[in-house]
Symmetry: C2
Subunit: 377 residues, 2 copies
């Protein structure tokens, strides 16, 4: 089967790049926003990790669907949807934002792109923000068009990304600053390109606005990337966890709030802006959150995949659970297992020893640390 065991149908949408992804030997997919996300190619996860840190990769992250707000009340709706202060956001800027519900619970953690004073894109993680935004707009009688445009993101990630992109889009791409975007020409079309991406290795995201150009874009980058040892890739679990990049549905759900997710800097709670969940977040800030996202060094041999959360236990009387590992992986660079967990107040200081009840039945020693991970010793 072309999709390596995952049953496919129209419901789980292919992307403009899936033909190329299959031609390049994809070994597995996940599903995000009702769309295929490649999860592995021919290399091992570790080889892929080292390659990403040294060269450049093409990632089909079309599943980062765009939710467009456009029209008279677009700015008002965007601000209502997030605790981040958008008053000074500029056209051409990307902002990492929390979308929360009336209890302050996380609904998504997208990148927000300001395209115009009356036009925004939320580049979303795995939940139907389209329905949330449409429901809010309809309920409140706002004049705003909410849609999912034909935009499919191809990420170019890794230290050689800038050289590769310059060869295809011209030297102007080098002037695009981090979390800024601009338009560039591709085969007679204008395409939005941002310096951003779900890795810490640098790179760009191309917001292709015409799905029929998917194969041409991939092939162009592939050909131009040959001198740079370009490879097909996807968000790398090792690199993501090392860098402390969170994943909606894994590290956080509606049960968590942005303060627990260490998004304090993106929450303006002084009353100067109004948004859904403000009262709840102000109250949480006043009382102090009860848990905080942290890294955990996990001892022992390379751990198995963390398919279901692993209890994190305090080594005291009664084995009190103080957290749960939601993602874990062996880091070949640190030569240690690393995991992400919300950790209870009182136990989240770096250096706190813990016990992790991993899936293999082992009880492993562990140590709490801040994010991103830095050398353990």
């Amino acid at each position: 089967m072309p999709t390596s065991g995952l049953n496919v149908s129209r419901r789980i949408r292919r992307t403009p790049y899936t033909d190329q992804v299959e031609a390049h030997g994809v070994r597995g997919f996940s599903v995000v926003n009702h769309m295929l996300l490649p999860k592995a190619y021919q290399r091992s996860l570790q080889d892929d990790y080292w390659h990403l840190r040294e060269h450049v990769q093409l990632w089909d992250v079309s599943c980062q669907r765009q939710v467009e707000l456009r029209g008279k009340h677009a700015a008002r709706l965007a601000q209502w949807m997030t605790p981040r202060d958008l008053r000074r956001a500029e056209v051409g800027q990307c902002l990492y934002v929390a979308i929360v519900d009336e209890n302050g619970g996380m609904i998504n953690d997208p990148l927000l792109l300001k395209l115009a004073e009356d036009r925004f894109w939320f580049s979303i993680a795995d939940s139907d923000v389209l329905l949330w935004a449409k429901g809010l707009a309809l309920g409140a009688g706002m004049e705003v068009e909410v849609s999912e445009p034909d935009v499919s993101v191809l990420a170019v990630q890794g230290p050689k990304a800038e050289d590769l992109m310059a060869n295809v889009f011209g030297p102007g791409i080098r002037d695009v600053k981090f979390f800024r975007f601009a338009e560039f020409e591709f085969q007679g079309t204008r395409q939005l390109i941002a310096r951003s991406g779900y890795s810490k290795q640098g790179g760009f995201e191309i917001y292709l606005n015409d799905g029929s150009l998917g194969s041409a874009l991939w092939d162009t980058l592939w050909k131009a990337g040959q001198p740079f040892d370009v490879a097909p890739g996807c968000p790398n679990l090792i690199e993501r966890v090392e860098g402390g990049l969170l994943s909606y549905g894994n590290e956080m759900t509606r049960e968590n709030n942005p303060l627990e997710c260490a998004m304090d800097d993106y929450c303006t709670l002084d009353g100067s802006i109004d948004f859904i969940g403000r009262t709840a977040l102000q109250s949480l800030q006043r009382d102090g959150v009860q848990r905080l996202i942290r890294g955990v060094w996990i001892d022992g041999a390379p751990c198995p995949p963390c398919a279901t959360p692993w209890p994190v236990v305090h080594n005291g009387v009664g084995d009190r659970q103080i957290g749960q590992i939601t993602t874990a992986i062996y880091s070949p660079r640190f030569e240690c297992n690393i995991g992400l967990s919300m950790i209870e107040r009182g136990f989240w200081e770096p250096g706190q020893p813990v016990t992790v009840h991993s899936a293999d039945g082992d009880r492993r020693g562990g140590t709490v640390t801040s994010l991103p991970f830095a050398s353990p010793g």
Copy 2:
């Protein structure tokens, strides 16, 4: 890997039955509502089809998440969300409903369960109706609690389902009428059971309200089912297409309206009730829809899976496309391929000859028919 090639993480949620499903040899999963849906066990699709028509199966359809509306404005919100007239809906009744947006576009096609005058469950297909309902309620300032309760549906489907269920829950289960539900005792708890399910072979759906009882429920039914040749199963593609059961995301998307989906009987457009999209649907009804869901007999050898839509073309001048097959499968009972497609006005009469451009590059003859499928000859 336990999940047969699909990369797993907390984001793609396991269900209260996944341990049992794996123990019984599941061969593949799909993802619906951020949750695992088993897609195949050890039998072939055809053997599974015949078994379902003759015996009884246990289906883990926990991915049919419940979206609960509860409180003062629950009934008002439920009615606002669907064109189906709920004024005479009774407590204990299940209703198949369309949920549409302001343009009349399909957002979901759930079963609605009326639990009380002020409490409803939408048992949903694959889209985040929770966010839609929460957004509407928040936007409109309604006093209603919208939540996803700990409810995981285990379906018992097939002609022997009633006998099996009677052995476990007592003879009272036989009195539950089609699309009605009642409460039954299980290990000291009260559980809602409906006569319903995503097959035409009869059966029940158990809305287990405590995930920790998942294994106990599965094991109890499994043991009691031995005399009935019980098997693990899942919605069967052959049986579903034969029966004309639609799948959200496959046969319909937001691009379709409920009239095209042959849900006229569930749309009250005389102005006596108000709901989102009423004006759009009234206009569509007045003008007549431009396409209608139909079955298509497809000639030739058993067809490959329909991973992307196959054009349906009118055999006239210019090869005009009049539809697209969104699901197709070989029916061993009819000894013919069968497919589902929206078909354009003017071409949807049963008997209309068409050409289907299937994935294997073949151009196959085909014939439009009404649903459900009945013998082709």
